[in-house]
């Protein structure tokens, strides 16, 4: 071969290697995404990989997992229906004060997790908040402000100390008649984590699950960098107050801008403080960041109900848990370890406390 031909051949080989590397990369970055409405929200799953069929099957299995958890935790199923029969929560509620109910392993796991955070938060989080939610009408179409003595009476039927979990027999009992479970702050996150684990089991390495704003990411994004997750501005639609850079973790938000109503010039929202019976009023929005989406879901409610300083102290105490919040008076605060993975965009409406 002449010298020139050799040089050309070498250059072409280099080009070939670069091109093949790119083809390989773009093959691994094939996207498959799908939307489904479940658990009263829109769930979007986006996955990346080589083979479309594998991606499609993995996503179908993930949704099936979510549907299964949704059925177990559905508190609104009507007696006599198939949905009622498959709802552990309905059966537990129906037999409150009567006898223990045999439940699915996942129902038990959710309740064990819930009780753990009830103890850790000293009662600021309580899955037996059902009677209060009913009294306020937050499950139905016409929420309203109850009378103070009604709230006082309902509070007597709230308290996780009377939720009896028997892990050996896999049974659950609400000790007093009139008690009622509400897994609204647990099930969506738990189901999201289950879905993610199902994707992982099918070999998926890059995924994003958005369950009505509960975010769980697996691996890195399509550009091989941390996923960029915005945190919604609690007062302006389509705006954000911060961006989180996340890898293989979840971010769940609890905020005061959902499911609310106005009475006497005051706005009331659906996240009740189970100790007082009234909506928690310390924060506009809180975002809990931790790997497990089930834990993040519960923690977002725990942190929302607690006063900001207490919430931040608790977050610092828990390993692998981070917190971003906007207090009721518009101050943006976050746990120390979030620095470096967070861009705050306070705008004109909020102040940013950088002391941590």
């Amino acid at each position: 071969m002449s010298k020139r031909a050799t040089v050309i051949a070498c250059l072409l080989v280099l080009l070939l290697i670069a091109g093949l590397a790119l083809l390989r990369q773009s093959g691994a970055n094939r996207e498959y995404s799908s939307d489904q409405f479940l658990m009263d929200t829109l769930v979007s799953i986006k996955v990346y990989g080589n083979d479309r069929e594998t991606l499609k099957t993995a996503v179908a299995v993930a949704y099936a997992e979510m549907h299964r958890i949704a059925e177990l935790a559905d508190g609104f199923a009507q007696p006599g229906t198939a949905a009622y029969q498959s709802s552990d929560v309905c059966r537990i509620n129906a037999l409150a004060g009567k006898k223990p109910v045999q439940v699915d392993g996942d129902t038990l796991a959710m309740l064990v997790l819930a009780k753990k955070y009830y103890q850790l938060s000293e009662g600021a989080f309580d899955v037996t908040v059902g009677p209060l939610m009913d009294l306020w009408g937050f499950g139905g179409k016409n929420p309203h402000l109850p009378a103070p003595d009604q709230i006082k009476a309902a509070l007597k039927s709230v308290g996780c100390q009377d939720l009896v979990l028997n892990e050996q027999d896999r049974t659950v009992l609400l000790r007093k008649e009139g008690m009622k479970l509400d897994l609204g702050a647990v099930a969506k996150g738990y189901a999201t984590e289950k879905a993610l684990q199902a994707l992982k089991k099918r070999g998926i390495e890059k995924a994003l699950i958005d369950a009505g704003g509960n975010i769980r990411v697996l691996g890195q994004n399509v550009h091989n960098s941390a996923w960029r997750i915005g945190v919604k501005d609690p007062r302006k639609s389509n705006e954000i107050v911060a961006v989180l850079a996340l890898e293989d973790t979840s971010a769940v938000t609890s905020a005061d801008y959902y499911r609310g109503f106005e009475a006497g010039g005051k706005r009331y929202h659906h996240i009740l403080d189970p100790r007082t019976g009234y909506p928690a009023a310390h924060n506009m929005t809180v975002t809990a960041v931790t790997q497990d989406a089930g834990q993040a879901d519960i923690l977002s409610t725990v942190f929302f109900v607690l006063a900001p300083e207490k919430a931040l102290q608790l977050a610092e105490k828990l390993a692998g848990v981070e917190l971003l919040l906007v207090t009721a008076d518009g101050l943006i605060r976050h746990s120390t370890s979030l620095r470096g993975r967070l861009e705050v965009q306070p705008g004109a409406a909020y102040r940013y406390d950088q002391s941590r």
Binding site: M1, L15, L22, L42, L208, I215, G230
Partner: protein
């Protein structure tokens, strides 16, 4: 050059052509930037309509969701839910959207309006 050299050279040339095309299309033909911004409307997860968002163009159309007829309004590069049959009207309050990655979601009607394209954010927690 021997015959084998020539065969090798032609082989390398052909393979390079393929990979060169891949490189070119990756770096010079930006598939996202080249397309106009589109809004996609889905009902119960199935595609209903795709709208090109271009300045100056105005239109509106009806979408049959699970709760009945909703109306989508397009005004140039932005789009919104204009009318909805449900009681809470959360989708109406979400207002206009115009940037890739933004969406309007009506849960009772199972309708989603989403702006496609390279979004600055992968998702928003809310």
């Amino acid at each position: 050059m021997t015959r084998a050299d020539k065969v090798l050279l032609v082989g390398i040339l052909l393979a390079s052509l393929v990979s060169g095309t891949a490189l070119y299309s990756r770096f010079f033909l930006d598939p996202v930037g080249a397309q106009p911004i589109q809004a996609v409307v889905t009902v119960s997860g199935k595609a209903f309509r795709t709208i090109a968002l271009q300045s100056g163009a105005r239109s509106s159309f009806v979408v049959q969701g699970r709760q009945g007829a909703s109306k989508v309004e397009v005004d140039g590069r932005r789009v919104r839910m204009q009318q909805a049959p449900c009681e809470n009207g959360i989708c109406l309050k979400q207002g206009w959207i115009e940037h890739p990655g933004q969406s309007v979601v009506c849960v009772p009607g199972e309708i989603v309006i989403r702006i496609e394209g390279a979004a600055p954010l992968d998702a928003v927690t809310r």
